[in-house]
Symmetry: C2
Subunit: 503 residues, 2 copies
């Protein structure tokens, strides 16, 4: 059936067109059905009925879709019912608890990438994956299918080391330290990182306060091969691009099916040509991995999956029951990270974690007592020298100093209202406060923590300082800190019990 076009400006992963109810009936399509829309070219869209709003014979579509099929406003298109792609059958197969073949997994992945599956269908896919799961061979096929949706980087050097943290713990600024140590030892580690998704500050969020992180593939390759390491933003590369589309659907559901999580991580490593990978699994309350048992299960899965796809994978289960170090927020984390490379011995939790992780990677490269060697490289200033080489290669200032980085000018100390010991620090509330202060989009926003778990606090001591770039955001962050206090301080005085035990 022929229609006159009205294009409106909208950009969405799902192409929706609006039709009069009578026209939908005439074509034989219902709400959320798929149609082919043909102008100069054809594309697939999903129908929404527009009660009494769209005149008969008219279709309203996005500008994006109109451009894609090569028609302008008042142009003419032909609209027809389009069968669901085969991948919908494969999704149903997974809903029915069956195993999927390699080609079926590829069909689903490619149809998500090409917008041939609607939000409704992708949601059903993720839900089925969450409930019915995949075996490790299916996950290997899934990983390779996702990797093949984007570019595959090929380096002239081998091995290619990589490092990944499952995340979920605030203040985890160890990546530039690990990369600098490993590269200083002579290995290549082309590290790509992410920006914050639900966290307060991702690695790329703080690295971009002192150098470029959006590196083109050719530049990333050149720096990695010449200098040995990069701190790049993965989003500037075209790595397993289907993953972003899936995350957009996973996120509102609050699920991360095991198969999807594993394939998501590993597909990007495959795309980066990684041969040796260390995965940091932060374990603790409010992280993705709350118990040692679940951490071990993830480690097993990652190593099994590595075996299947020919990648050497090791895992480090790390302690994540409180923030790593003392700073949270882009500039504050950058300062803390760089000051350690400059020689600062504090905070020990950051140094220890970075050295342990770098040490495991060195051992994967054949260096015995990796952690000892990593500490030497850090203490000797070799890591700092390598760090500055990378910074300069990524257009950072050659005279970069941690002291040059200045956080937000609006600050407020949060004071202990009673004395005692810090029993715990809730990561979740730390993240909430930092985000309310403006992190990560306001680079100077965040917080510094002065008392960590187990430390003695006297009434009136400063527990943390909140930083913001505006008075209003500071005020809101302080309110958030009061309503969502991250510090659990107990007197630690044990109750005296009379000398008679009940039976």
């Amino acid at each position: 059936m022929k229609f006159k076009v009205k294009a409106y400006v909208m950009n969405s992963s799902e192409q929706t067109i609006l039709l009069a109810d009578e026209d939908s009936l005439a074509i034989g399509v219902k709400e959320n059905d798929r149609v082919s829309v043909t102008g100069y070219r054809s594309a697939i869209a999903v129908v929404t009925h527009a009660k009494d709003i769209v005149p008969r014979g008219t279709v309203i579509m996005t500008k994006d879709l109109a451009d894609r099929i090569g028609v302008g406003n008042d142009g003419e298109v032909d609209i027809k019912y389009a069968h669901a792609p085969d991948s919908v059958r494969f999704i149903r197969k997974k809903m029915d608890g069956e195993r999927l073949e390699k080609e079926q997994i590829e069909a689903i992945v490619n149809d998500i990438l090409d917008n041939r599956l609607s939000k409704i269908e992708v949601s059903a896919w993720l839900t089925a994956l969450y409930i019915n799961g995949m075996d490790i061979d299916e996950i290997a096929d899934f990983t390779m299918a996702m990797a093949n949706t984007g570019d595959i980087v090929k380096f002239s050097r081998s091995p290619v080391f990589d490092f990944h943290s499952l995340g979920g713990v605030p203040g985890n600024k160890i990546t530039p330290i690990v990369v600098s140590i490993v590269a200083a030892a002579g290995f290549m580690i082309p590290k790509t990182s992410s920006r914050a998704i639900s966290s307060a500050c991702g690695t790329s969020d703080f690295v971009e306060t002192f150098c470029d992180v959006e590196l083109e593939s050719s530049k990333l390759k050149a720096i990695s091969e010449d200098v040995g390491g990069v701190f790049s933003w993965g989003g500037s590369m075209n790595l397993a691009p289907v993953d972003d589309l899936v995350i957009d659907i996973e996120h509102p559901l609050g699920i991360n099916p095991r198969a999807q999580m594993l394939a998501s991580i590993m597909s990007k490593k495959v795309a980066m040509g990684s041969t040796h990978l260390l995965v940091d699994i932060p374990m603790g309350r409010d992280t993705k991995v709350p118990t040692l048992e679940s951490a071990k299960a993830y480690a097993r899965d990652l190593m099994d999956l590595g075996d299947r796809i020919g990648m050497h994978v090791e895992c480090a289960i790390t302690y994540a029951d409180q923030p790593i170090g003392t700073a949270v927020g882009p500039i504050l984390e950058a300062k803390e990270c760089i000051s350690i490379l400059e020689g600062d011995k504090h905070p020990a939790s950051v140094i220890e974690k970075a050295v342990e992780c770098a040490g495991i990677i060195l051992e994967m490269g054949g260096i015995p007592n990796g952690a000892v060697r990593a500490k030497e490289i850090l203490d000797s200033g070799e890591a700092y020298k390598k760090f500055m080489e990378i910074v300069v290669a990524q257009n950072g200032r050659p005279d970069l100093k941690s002291s040059d980085l200045v956080p937000g000018e609006f600050t407020q100390d949060i004071i202990a209202s009673s004395s005692g010991y810090v029993h715990s620090i809730r990561n979740k509330n730390v993240v909430l406060i930092a985000k309310t202060a403006g992190s990560p989009s306001d680079k100077g926003a965040g917080l510094k923590i002065f008392k960590k778990k187990g430390q003695r606090v006297e009434q009136g001591d400063v527990l943390m300082t909140i930083y913001a770039e505006s008075e209003a955001k500071l005020k809101r962050a302080v309110e958030m800190a009061i309503s969502n206090n991250p510090f659990d301080i107990e007197g630690m005085l044990l109750k005296r019990v009379a000398g008679i035990k009940s039976i």
Copy 2:
């Protein structure tokens, strides 16, 4: 954060707003996240990023949403991140295979009704329901929760009989006959029907060719109480309105989770105040219920569910391996239905099914040998008299005759190319042809079948006649009939086998 409004005209079950990427980041929301949008009033919407299209500080929303919150174009609204409602947790609980409590089911149902759950979430819900299911007590809670989303009709007469067909078989025009017989026997049967969803012609689609089907609740009540029966369109009542929203999501997935199917049917019966219900379960290839085993399982479920919610439910498993009667399409089905009430003895399959179903209902009402009595009521003309009373009460012509109804003027006979016996008739292809001819929106479109299963066909015999209201649609329907031939004709000559059996 404050925004200037640009409203665009669009109507959708899901309210989407468009924001600049930087503004989304500043509010701390991602694609598909939920926000509260506050103008004069507040409403919940889902965020879509609009890359480079929406200027910072501007929000694009539908006219519908703008009206709902009481702002016009260039008005100002405040937008904030909104937490997912509790129902999202309950959906996850079902994803984790757990049982849901009554209040949790109610929360999900009410949040779907009020558009507080996005398409993504409703899809996850239906997928979880499909995979993990519900026990019969959960389904009873689900049924009542769905019924309570709309009006509950209260009649002054009791009992309230009802009749429902699971559908899936074309040409099933028995409803007006069953209702007329039951009402003629002195019982009240306020029957609501649907229009076609995926079928070629729903009961309301053909009934509206000879009388009104869109009856207001008060009129439906009055006619039912006075005359004893109605043939009303359920959609004109506000019965379990949440069901339509769910169907829009189920449909593209091609699933109908057992719990949803049962609650969907029964919630509408609860809303209609039904005390006694007969469910017709058409069993056969291409129906919802392909095997006797699955038909029995449905029957058991429906009766168990009836027990839980205090409704007397009986089921009739009927034969549905070919169309019922000979006519498919609104006017053609109306003619066949009315001619039987007028006294026509043909086609026997329609008469038998209508009499059997009416007979079971009469027995539920205490009349022994219900089918015999039902046949008497039909043969004596009492059913016809009652039928005309109902038609006139629904504004039909008092001199209505089946011969007055004229199908589409463009017709084409389909001829047998070889002789043999009709081995089977594929319902699916019959539906495809009728829909291609224009049914149900073109009232005169459809087809008449002259040879049914088991009948002898000679080469050159007319197998069916296709009717359409335009030359073009007729042509397409004929092409469809050729490429999707519903008739499977076999010579039925058994192969002669030599007198030696293999061991």
